[in-house]
Amino acid sequence: MHNTIMRVSRRDWLRRRHALAALLGAAGLSVASATHAQGAPSGLVRGHVRLPNGNPAPPTTIFLLETQDQTASDSRGQFALSSSYRGVATLVARRVGFVPAAVDITLPMDTAITLTLVPMPPSLSTLTVVAAGEYTLGSGRTASLTPLEIAQTPGAAADVAKALQTLPGPQNVDEGSGLFVRGGDVTETRVLLDDAWLLSPARFDNPIGHVTATVNPFLLDRTIFSAGGFGAQYGNALSGLVRMETAGRPLVSSGNATASIGNAGLSAALALHGRVGVRANANIRALGPLIAIFGEAQPYNPPPEGGDLSGTIEWQSGKAGRVRLFALRDRSRFGVGNAGVRSGTSYASTTGQHMLVLSWRDSATIWRPALTLARSGFDRTESIETLRLGTRLGVTHLVGALGWQPDGRISVRIGGDLERLDARYSGTVKSGEAPERTLYAANSASDRTGAFLEATVRQTPNLRVITGVRSDRATITGVRTIDPRISAVWQHGTLGLTAAFGVLHQVAEPTFFRPQDTSSRFDPMRVRESIVGAQWGGDSVGLRVELYDKAYTNLWQFAPNFGVAGNGHGHARGADLFLRTRLSATTRSRVAWSIVRSRRDDPETGVDAPAIGDVRHSVSWITERVFGRLTVNTALRHATGRPFTDIVGTRTAGDERLPVFGAPNGERLPAYWRSDISASWYRPIGGGRAMVLWGDLSNLFNRGNVMRYRWNADYRERLPVLAPFNRALYAGATLLY
């Protein structure tokens, strides 16, 4: 019984203990709830905002991310935010110039919150404003023109240089591919391929227009065209710079075959291995059939014909490194009548060119080495009636640079180049049965060494300044030049301002060098240029305007009698405008308008006269419209007439009648107008293949643009020499596989 009682007592005690515990637990919960509830009814979040040093932050916006309920802190950093929200929420403090501070809180709450605002570090977002004078052709996101756009530019015949002419800067001097940039001469534009010099000597006024070297656009990754303001890395160029960068190894194998009136081509891209890829391209062209169908504005004999073979092989040497070998071989020839000042003069030219470029780049670390070794050659034979001219150039070019880029704020680049140019010029004459007579034969070699140092600094998040200096010395001149250069880009949103100033030198080609003439120095040509510009917008819609001023000294030029004149002066100033716009979802358009005033000392008389590049206005308007698989491009080009020297009378010398020239470049050709339209239609044909049918209707309105003038035998009658091509339809097909 006792035991029973004891057990009962213990049981009761235990029961009481459990009940007490339950009671205490319930009481505790009630107390806790009551305590919690005391702060809730107000629905107020209180706190203060501080700076990292403990001082109150300046007035700051405080808001609840979930509801956007917001208030502002006072000058002591204190705030009280009212909200009816319940549950977990994000409280944010935000002020311009500071990183937003955010904290998760559970509402309602009765404790004060402290938020700390940290000043925003200078952000280094990508500056999208392009350097003064620079335009890019390629596949990059800031590209001005893609390789396909180059190929589709009506009237450009897939020629990079001709597509470049549709950008601001070059003047429409004639229908050739030569680049007269911002009032400069065609010989003052230097073409580089993977940093190596691609020879493009354009000496005399070619009867079909000035020409420059070019490469198949689909072998190129991008082409950067600088109408001025280029960095210290690039030397020996006075007016313009074309930097072609070859395409990398293909990721997948593909190919295409093209056939059209007067042209056939094969291209292949082979992904041989994970690290090795090859690209190859071969073309043959003969414009005879095209001329036979559509006629000719000039009597061709023979019509332009030629072929080229080019390719790259690349080995991926590391995570961000590659070794690439590029090779090019090209031959062409043509002949044309009415080529000289007097009627009936015939001209013929055969040109051969080759180039081999081995380059290495590595950007895996903060040290960015780049090395290029190249060998290129150029061989041209020209005949003008009984005169035969030979030009043979060979250049070996070694370019090296080392970049140091520790972060996005600063980068430094140092490097140099070594260039050996061998030049051979010859002139012979053969009249009747008489043996060929040598007029001249000159061999000259010139070594040029150059070095540069360039620093790019992001002074503020919106401002980038590039300063550099380069020094060059060529054995043929014996003069060391020092070129300081500086350029700046400032960007705010989509608005950008640019400026550049620099001194540039170029050694005139050895053909100007007369070693026997010891009376005058063969100093390098020099220009001092200043550029300011403004840009607005982005890739597809945007506007660029640039103003420039250039002062030339030590210019070397040819006189009409093939004599040379040095130490000339010149001046060019003008404006370039580039507008890109989308007219609709499927229609894009771009307009380039170049205005220039360019004058130089006349090589014959020494008087100040308009330069050949003094084409006051050059306008290109290109429009692309896509209709599903059909793409239609139109081009309208206009230029005010270029200057020429008129013949105002004759004089006799013995029994020969010679012309008397008027004011140097005192007259102008009629304005140039040309309209072209091209279309391409893409059609998959199964089996992973596709067909592109394309056509190019050039010179749509069959306008006879005057290229220059010729005179009859006694120089009394002036006759226009028209642009070589009539309206012509150039059509073909490309098979993609």
């Binding site: 029973t4 049981r11 459990h18 991310l65 956007q68 977990v88 994000t90 944010v92 935000r94 990183v99 937003p100 955010a102 904290v103 998760d104 596949s139 996101r141 893609t146 390789p147 396909l148 756009e149 589709q152 990721l251 997948v252 593909s254 609709s584 979802a585 692309e624 896509v626 599903g628 698989r629 793409t631 391409s680 893409y682 998959p684 992973g688 293949r689 596709a690 592109v692 993609l736 596989y737």
Partner: protein, 271 residues
């Protein structure tokens, strides 16, 4: 009776002790098995992920737009958070895929894709994620597939982003899935092809078996993989396999409207 009382007392003691023990032990155990609650940007990213997935399955463009607004708000507080940027872009990608007339590239669709590309590039710069590169490749690939001009403009960039995605996540099912969808619509001469697409989607389905990303990392795509597999099987003439794939997609996501209302009914009932 005492025996019964004793037994009742014993049971009561056992129950009380068990409850006490449970109170002491369960909380730490639970703490071990449940991940810590997400906070800050991660909480918003996870919420966005769930809501985008729900909107995508329900074919609800209005809901997608609402998630976009929510993410824009979150980005005002966590401006450069890579996951918020990623999900904002992911939402835009889904929005562009749900747009009408996806065969043609409308101006609005192109704008949406360009915005997504911009956000993905920002996200990738802050935190390289396989899914970010895969989405970037897909967005660029869609633009590249809308004509020859765009093909030249975006094709290489799409391939590069795809290669980067594979390097970052060789066994990531979403990388394989997006690559598979892209390959399915890409001609073999440009590195795609039907067979390649089919193989990649199958690879993705295999990889989903071991896919356990912790929130708020991307975890979408399992049901979608079966939806695409179904279409590929149908295209190959394997109707029963297509039906099984759609059924599997609906088992994973019963509210998947695209499969439930369009793809599956189009096949008809099993014979």
């Amino acid at each position: 009776m005492p025996a019964q009382r004793f037994s009742t007392e014993c049971i009561r003691r056992i129950v009380y002790s068990t409850m006490l023990l449970a109170c002491i032990t369960l909380q730490p155990l639970q703490a071990q098995s449940t991940p810590a609650p997400l906070t800050g940007a991660a909480r918003w990213a996870d919420s966005a992920h769930v809501q985008i997935e729900r909107a995508m399955l329900a074919y609800d463009t209005a809901a997608l737009a609402r998630v976009g607004t929510m993410l824009d708000r979150a980005l005002s507080a966590f401006s450069n958070d890579p996951l918020l940027l990623h999900y904002r872009a992911y939402g835009l990608y889904r929005e562009s895929m749900l747009r009408e007339g996806d065969g043609e590239l409308s101006a609005a669709k192109e704008r949406t894709l360009r915005s997504a590309i911009d956000l993905l590039e920002r996200s990738a710069a802050a935190r390289p994620l396989a899914e970010t590169q895969a989405l970037l490749s897909s967005c660029l690939g869609v633009l590249a597939g809308t004509g020859m001009v765009n093909g030249m403009r975006y094709g290489n960039a799409a391939s590069t982003a795809g290669a980067e995605a594979r390097a970052l996540g060789p066994n990531n099912p979403r990388v394989a899935l997006l690559a598979g969808i892209g390959a399915w619509f890409t001609p073999s001469m440009w590195g795609g092809g039907k067979d390649k697409g089919y193989a990649l989607v199958q690879q993705a389905i295999g990889a989903f078996a071991n896919d356990q990303p912790s929130p708020p990392l991307p975890s979408w795509g399992a049901a979608e993989a079966y939806a695409w597999l179904g279409q590929m099987e149908k295209s190959r003439g394997n109707m029963s396999a297509a039906r099984a794939a759609y059924d599997r997609a609906l088992a994973l996501a019963p509210e998947y409207r695209w499969v439930r209302d369009q793809l599956r009914p189009a096949l008809g009932a099993a014979r």
